[in-house]
Structures are given as C-alpha cells and as structure tokens.
C-alpha cells in the first residue's frame, strides 16, 4: 500500500463500479470516442487499485485508515494552527468554554480531556453515533509572541474523500470552518470583537 493513500473504502468501491461501467459501455459498441471512456474507466480502476487520487494532495485531503477511535473506520484529517498574541492562560480559558471549540456544527460536544493551559480534546456525537473528534493543544510562541493553538480534527466523511474534495473546492469544507473558527477566536481575544459586515448597507435587492 502506498503511504499517501487518500481514497476511502467507499471511494474505491465507487471507482471500481464506475470504472467497470465505463469500460463495459465502451466495449459494447466500440468506437474511437468510446475508447476515451474506456481509458477514463481504466484510470478509475487504477486509482481504486492504488487507493490514491493525485489531485487530493494539493487539495489537502488526508485519509486516516486507522483512527485513534476505532468506532470510526476511516477518517478525514484536518490540521490548522494559529498564533494569538495573548498569554497562554487567557487563550486556553477562551477555548475551555465548549461553545468556543472549533468543532463541526450539528454535533453534541463531549469534552473528553482537559489539561489546563495545555490541551483540550472533544468528541462530537450525532445522536448515539460518533461523528468527529478533535483536540487543541496550546504552547507558547517563541520570543514572547503569544500562544500557538494547534487544532487537530478527524471526521467521518459523508461522500468519502471525493465528497470532501468537492466540499473543499466549494469552500465549505471543515478545513475552512476550522480556519474561520480559529481566526474568529484570535480576533475576539486580541481586539475584543469579531470582524463582521453583517447588516451593512448595499445596493442588493
């Protein structure tokens, strides 16, 4: 298995089905144009075999086949870090309130680990089902530049890594939500308010 495997099981099944369908369609009435479809189908099968889509690396899609929580068979991994120009204790205290965690929406949060000024870890449930888990670790930035918050999040992808890639392209991926959440926290901690244009005038009707 290659180390940079980034297709989930669901994706690979989809690739096999889609690849075979394209090849069968091409073989039933062979033509030059349909041979192109057969080529694409073969490429799908090859990706299913290697478990790797080369486009996902630039998109930042990372699959974890053996997540720390065995309830989730496969997860997609999101990692973001931010430097906040405030003391560690203050930054920790802000995130220690569960509503301030950069967790994914529509999940009930259960704080699993809480080490003052060091680490916060949580699990997000949808009903009984574990939907994601994440952690924040806090350390001093060098040279008295405040606090570095490193966020790690793993979630069960609906739609596999292909769905995640699509979400990423559309700007609605957990990466973006995580980044926005951390930036919002920095703005509140550093300036006392979150930047916003909500409710400002425009010529839109």
């Amino acid at each position: 298995m290659p180390r940079n495997l980034n297709l989930t099981r669901a994706d690979r099944i989809g690739y096999v089905v889609g690849g075979i369908a394209l090849i069968v369609w091409a073989l039933r009435r062979p033509s030059w144009s349909r041979s192109l479809a057969a080529g694409v189908g073969s490429w799908f099968l090859y990706q299913a075999y290697t478990g790797t889509n080369p486009m996902f690396k630039p998109l930042g899609i990372r699959v974890n086949r053996e997540p720390a929580r065995p309830e989730l068979a496969e997860t997609l991994v999101v990692e973001e870090a931010i430097t906040i120009s405030r003391p560690r204790a203050e930054v920790y205290a802000y995130f220690a309130r569960p509503e301030h965690l950069p967790a994914l929406a529509d999940a009930d949060i259960d704080v699993a680990r809480n080490v003052a000024d060091e680490e916060l870890a949580w699990r997000g449930f949808r009903g009984e089902r574990l939907a994601h888990f994440g952690s924040l670790t806090f350390r001093d930035a060098p040279g008295g530049r405040g606090t570095i918050v490193a966020a790690h999040l793993e979630y069960a992808p609906s739609g596999g890594s292909l769905g995640a890639a699509l979400a990423r392209v559309m700007g609605r991926a957990p990466q973006r939500l995580m980044g926005d959440g951390l930036r919002r926290a920095r703005a509140i901690l550093e300036t006392g308010e979150a930047p916003s244009t909500r409710g400002q005038p425009s010529g839109r009707r």
Binding site: T83, G146, G171, R183, T191, E193, S196, T197, G203
Partner: protein, 390 residues
C-alpha cells in the same frame, strides 16, 4: 442615503440604500463630506478584481464628520472631523503592533478566501471586493468605520477637505513608494505612471532628498504636471524607448530606484508586449498586465530597488527573474501602512511642505460619480483626480 454601487463591469450606479449602523463596539459612523475616486477603483470598474458582488458600495478614500460612536471608542467625539485610512486595521495584532497596518490579521472576515488566492490574507479594505472583507465603502453619504479608535485622524478645523482628504490613501501611498526607495544623496528615481499616486511619489521622492526624478507617462497633461509643477524630467513612452532614454539620462548606469505607480492594467505603446498581455489577460491565462513592472526591473541600476505602489491582483508571466537575481535587485511593495504616516504627513501639510490638492482636476457631486468613473477610465477632459461631495 445615496451611495455608489457596483453592478457589473463598467456598470456603477448611484442608488438609495439604507444608512449604515454600528455593528461592533469599536465602530463609528461617519457622515462623508468628501470622497475621491482612486486609480485602483478603476480595476474594480473594469472588472479586473475577483470577489465583487452586485450592489457593493465602492470608495476607500473619504473623510467626514463623526456622527455616531460605539461604546468602545474613547478617543473620538461626535462632531469630530476625521480622515479615514483605507486599510482597516485593529491596532492589536502582530502586524499592527509592528506598524504593518495593511497586514492586519483581524480585520478581514473573509481571510479564508484571500488565503486561497494569495497564501495569506492582508487587511480588510473599504469597498474593495469580498476578498478584502466586503466592507461597504465611502462613496456614499454615510459610512461605517470599524476600529475607529485606531484609524481615523482628527483634522484641524482650518484645514480644508481638499488638503486633508488624500491622507486616506494616495499621499501616504506616494510617500511609502518613495520611502521604499531608501533614497540617498545624489540618487535618481524613475517613476512609471503620473497618475495621482505617481505625481505624489515624485513630490515625496523630492522631499526625501532625491537629486533627480524622471517621470514616465503618455498623457501630456500628466507629464506637464510632473515637469512644470514638480520639476521632474519627463519621458513620453509613446515617443521614446524608455530603457534607452533612462540609460542615457543616468550616465549609462540606470536609475538608483524605480517606482511602479501603474499596476495591473499597464499599457505599452505599439508593442507586441501589450498585445501579448492583453490577449493573455482576456483569456484569463494571466490576471495582470505587468508591462511597467517588467520595464522598471530592466531599467533599474545594479543593486537598486524597485518600489511597487501599483496594485496587482493575481499572476503575471514573462517576469524578468534573471535580471532581478543576477543584478542584486530588491523589490519592496505592499498596500500602504497608512496609519503610520498620518501624523507625520499631516504635519508636512499644515507646515506647507506638501499640498497634495494639486492633483485634483474635477470636483463633482456624488450623483455624477458614474460619469466620473467613465471619464477617469477613458482619461477624457484631462482627468487626473476626481473629488466627490455628497
């Protein structure tokens, strides 16, 4: 209130929109008394900047009177006359505390969008696309000013709007362009583009001790201002080969520093280069036409500095990396850190050292703004700078 709204490429309209309200505690509402159309507004007008949405209110050069203050603003009073810097900056973050206000980390609520395009996000800017925050601009009767305890500068009562207005952008921008040249005694500075920023860069380069300034443009009225008003030597690039002319004028060595006050919509005369860039830009194979930047790099003396004040948005090609590297050139650039220049430049204005109002050619009402954009874009009626009053 009345406000100038962007609708589409080459389509801006003055419309009646709701008045702005305070959103955050550090906000102020300013009743605009004067605003200006910036050369960089023409990039929005021409549809060269991504992230514009139908109905966006334009304008990042404005001043006026404080009419409402959030609870977090202690240093201003209702009734104060203020000029507002175009970069929106919090004053608290890593960059603001180092004086790099246009790199404020907290003011752009759409930083994630900008990161995709540019790697990291700069500050938010009034009326300058949703990439830079989507903030409503000041070509309107009223405008909301975030972080009002950091940005606005109180203007002395006896100083007319026309002398103070350009502290919002073009005077500090011209100044920073000249400052980035690290001018030493005997230096010759070449300036591409004699629009308002180029003209003020010439004036500031002289203020900072440049021995000679050489101005490059093609419009006679602009070259006239650079030559007759400011005493710069001038090159009309439609008549001369700029590289050869500069070489000759500088004793075969090249200007010590070059200022690009043109940016992404440069023109090159009858040249294959212009057609090449125009076609690539139209086909979206490159976003910007870097004719002036390329020429500034090629013209600069060995070990010299290229100071880029013109606005670029995306990608360029045929970038002369070989000249840059082999000849030890330095490029300095950035959106202007306006906040740090406000007080020193206000002093230079009140003491009479600089009067930036010489660039104004048209004084119009806000309702005339759509026509003014067209006139400014097409350089009709010798238009150099338009000031609007609501």
């Amino acid at each position: 209130m009345r406000a100038l709204c962007w609708h589409d490429r080459l389509d801006v309209r003055v419309e009646t929109v709701p008045e702005p309200k305070l959103i955050n505690p550090r906000d102020a509402i300013v009743r605009v008394t004067s605003s200006a159309i910036c050369g960089s507004d023409l990039h929005l007008y021409g549809g060269f900047v991504p992230g514009m949405v139908k109905g966006d209110i334009l304008g990042h050069e404005f001043m006026g009177e404080v009419v409402e203050l959030g609870a977090g603003v202690q240093n201003l009073r209702v009734g104060d006359r203020v000029v507002v810097p175009f970069p929106i900056a919090c004053g608290n973050c890593f960059f603001c505390r180092r004086g790099l206000f246009s790199l404020c980390e907290n003011s752009n609520p759409n930083a994630g969008m900008a990161e995709k395009l540019w790697g990291y996000s700069p500050c938010g800017i009034y009326g300058y696309s949703h990439l830079l925050g989507g903030y409503a601009g000041g070509q309107a009767e009223y405008v909301r000013v975030p972080y009002a305890d950091v940005g606005p500068l109180i203007v002395p009562k006896d100083l007319p709007d026309e002398q103070a207005l350009f502290l919002s952008d073009i005077l500090p921008t011209g100044y920073m362009a000249a400052e980035n040249c690290a001018i030493e005694r005997g230096d010759t500075i070449a300036v591409w583009g004699c629009g308002p920023v180029g003209l003020l860069a010439i004036a500031c380069a002289q203020l900072l001790g440049a021995e000679r300034v050489i101005a490059i443009d093609r419009f006679p009225e602009r070259l006239r201002l650079a030559g007759l008003k400011l005493g710069a030597e001038t090159i009309d690039y439609t008549e001369a080969n700029v590289l050869e002319a500069l070489k000759e004028l500088t004793g075969g060595r090249g200007p010590d520093a070059c200022i690009d006050a043109v940016g992404m919509e440069a023109h090159a005369y009858h040249s294959i280069a212009h057609a090449y860039d125009r076609v690539k830009q139209a086909m979206m194979l490159e976003t910007d036409r870097p004719v002036a930047l390329r020429e500034a790099i090629m013209a600069c003396r060995n070990g010299g500095t290229i100071s880029v004040a013109g606005v670029y948005g995306g990608w360029i090609d045929k970038f002369p990396a070989g000249a840059l590297m082999n000849r030890s050139l330095t490029i300095r650039t950035g959106q202007t850190h306006v906040h740090r220049y406000l007080r020193p430049l206000l002093e230079r204005i009140t003491s009479g050292e600089v009067d930036p109002s010489f660039v104004i050619t048209h004084r119009l009402s806000l309702d005339e703004a759509p026509g003014a954009y067209r006139m400014f874009r097409d350089k009709q009626d010798e238009c150099i700078k338009v000031v609007l009053t609501p």
